[in-house]
Amino acid sequence: MAQRDLAIRIGGEAGMGLESSGAGFARALTRGGLYVFGLPDYYSRIRGGHNFYSIRVARHPLYTHAEPVHVLLALDRETIRRHVNHVVPGGAIIYDEKDGLPEGPRRADVGFCALPLSQLAEEKGGREVMRNTLALGVVAGLIGFDPQYMASVIRDNFARKGQAVVDANLRVVEAGVQAGCSFDGDFSFRMEAVPGAPARVMMNGTEAFALGALAGGCRFVAGYPMTPGSLALHWFARYADQYGVATKHAEDEIAAINMAIGAGLVGARALVPTSGGGFSLMVEALGMAGIAEIPLVVYEAQRPGPATGLATRNEQGDLMFALYASQGEFPRFILTPGTVEDCFRAGWQSFNLAEKHQTPAIILSDHYLAVAQRTLDVESIDFDAVTIERGELLTDQDLDAMEEPYRRFRVTASGISPRAVPGHPKAVFVTTANEHTERGAITEEPADRVAQTEKRLRKLKGMQQEIEGPFWYGPEEAELTFVCWGSTCGPLREAVDRLNAGRAGRANMLYFTALCPFPTAATAEALNRTRRTVAVECNATGQLESLLRMQTCWQVERSIRRYDGRPFTPEYILGKLEQAL
């Protein structure tokens, strides 16, 4: 049976290593020439509870996970209880015979496959912990996926532990594959490798953003652990020595952003990775970067708030907060990448934007985008496009030739004042978070205040020209136009495809990857071409919807909102669409 895509879900307790096993298998599928979308789902606890990793795999690029499951690997009974109804008719549930089945009626249209997973893992590998690997070997056998790609991942992942560990794992895979091939149930879903396919990469939004930021010259990173922002801090800490990046786990988020501002003042491209709670602590300093005109990049990976909220879950609830964070008025950028590719671009672009316009740039990502792994064609991570533009940063030569006293906050037509960093004898100056004169002296004079406020806000004109989007997806003309921002564009894109597969011209999508300064003209023009608009957002109050009203006086006709802590799926959107219309 020809299968367009196939989904595997491996579930169990926290501490069973599901995420690393799942990601390892996703990598094997990628090496086998297939496209995957891998999504970990976990609770904020280290042991127990219920975690799972979903892998969706196809021969075409995937932008989202989905709800149906073809193979459920249940490493405990809870997994069967929770996920049995997601398994498609004809799908299989593989479980350890020692765990047994949960009580209750058993679905007749699904194959239940009890295997001695722990026992086989111990026999072949010597350790029960290899059960995950064994179970994934079973999956490979079941779907007809050539196990050589699993072997290559195992060799890479376990090489540093020695040949004996590699060999044991390879034996375990082999045993799993044999068991999978000899499954006597009625399972017909296949996903064979595509030999000779071009080599592709697999990464999540955190990695893509960090890679882009590093390429864009990020030299200083300060943060404080908070899921999911800390994943970016980990990434930089790992490469800090090799790439010469000062990476500081600070005493708190307030210290982290102030450190980054200090680094920015003296000319280092500085980043603060955080999440909503951490960003809440940082907002006073954000305003300092605004008034003192110091370039700064804040990466805020959203999770559901308020306060601690749902630590390991997803929401797009911080848009209005990011737009208005900190007292007073100052210009800022807000980028809202929607895909892994967007995250890479936002990584390097944000540093150019912040430095050229001497103001903070905020990247709003979210948990879903930060952790979901995707297979990408190598070309989609485009290093050739990366530029490093430092704007009006004065060089030593410029300063040597300077004849008049340096004015750090010189009033200019563009609002951008040529920027020196401390250290040159001709540019000895004071920067202050108080209102100031052109020379940086404290002032409370009305004329100075007006001149500096207007100078800062004049920068918005140039900033506006930097904003790209909104972007269209789908047919030019459609009955319905979905409007979204950030990571929602992944699941929504597939919902659009499915609607159009049912009836051509049914739907298209307008999505925003930057929301501040707001692209008013382009948005108004785009919205005027729509027939019926539906806003899709992962929050309860429709924050983009409000922003559209505020900026363009546009009222969307319908809304689909999700705020249960889970990311959208195409199925969820299509289900809600019926109710919304």
Partner: protein, 290 residues
């Protein structure tokens, strides 16, 4: 040669006549000149308070930041450009109240900065509220019945946090203060200079008369050894009758934070080129994603 006049300039101070900050301003200028540090070679990072306006009143690089945060800002400055000297100047409310955690962390990290705290034991700019170093029972607008808390002991805290240079000056002893700041500037690592400073407007009980009668210099006590941590701890608790100033503790040198960061070993971060070659170097990391 650097002279005190190289630092002349800036705005007219807004401090009250008789404020201890005038002596601290002079002391900083004189110490920098003596240490041959020119105005462009140092950054004074200050917080918020009367005294934190200090860089505006001289010719020097300054960053006048937020209340309580200059030590954190200074940390970023030092990591990004460890070729630039950094002195933090802020008050007791800033350093020991809002910024207490940054103070202890900078001390334990042994960040190579001078941390000068203008300790007048009261809030000046916000008009006379009690501060972390105010005495117990102090009546102020926010403690009308008298402060219930016991004061912070900054010197004892710095010693406990692992600082290797812990000192106290007095704005009424300018020559001694200049020497102290000079020693702090020479110290490789975190150096605390807590400066007792009368606030003639909001804290008249602790004006010059109070300190003049009590202050004595540790250096004049031949038996005192600043390498002795226990003795330093004891002197840090001496108050009321006699108040010691000078170097309380000068411990065995430890590596500074900056010199232990691998990324900083070859050069200052800000001196490294950002060019196409760098981008290609980063592109090599794509190998790790296959």
């Amino acid at each position: 040669m650097v002279t005190r006049r190289d630092f002349a300039g800036g705005e007219t101070p807004t401090w009250c006549t008789g404020c201890g900050n005038f002596a601290i301003l002079n002391g900083i200028k004189m110490a920098l000149a003596e240490q041959e540090i020119a105005p462009h070679e140092i950054l004074l990072v200050t917080g918020i308070g009367c005294g934190s306006k200090l860089p505006h009143y001289m010719h020097v690089n300054g960053f006048h930041t937020l209340h309580g945060r200059p030590v954190a800002v200074a940390t970023g400055v030092r990591l990004a450009n460890h070729g630039l000297r950094v002195m933090v100047v802020h008050g007791d409310g800033d350093g020991y109240g809002e910024g207490l955690s940054h103070f202890l962390n900078a001390a334990r990290r042994n960040l190579n900065i001078v941390d000068l705290v203008q300790d007048n034991r009261v809030y000046g700019l916000t008009r006379g509220q009690y501060s972390p170093t105010s005495e117990r029972g102090k009546r102020t607008p926010t403690t009308p019945a008298g402060a219930i808390e016991w004061p912070v002991n900054p010197l004892a805290l710095a010693i406990t946090a692992g600082a290797t240079f812990v000192s106290r000056g007095y704005s009424g002893e300018l020559e001694h203060l200049v020497w102290l700041i000079g020693e702090a500037l020479q110290h490789p690592g975190y150096a605390l200079v807590d400066v007792l400073q009368p606030c003639v407007t909001w804290n008249r009980n602790y004006a010059y008369d109070f300190y003049r009668e009590r202050v004595y210099k540790l250096e004049e006590d031949a038996a005192y050894d600043p390498r002795d941590r226990t003795a330093a701890w004891e002197r840090a608790h001496e108050w009321d009758e006699r108040i010691p100033i000078g170097i309380f503790y000068r411990g065995e040198l430890k590596p500074t934070y900056e010199e232990q960061v691998a990324a900083l070993v070859s050069s200052c971060l800000v001196d490294r080129p950002l060019d196409r070659e760098w981008i290609l170097h980063v592109e090599e990391l794509m190998q790790t994603f296959f």
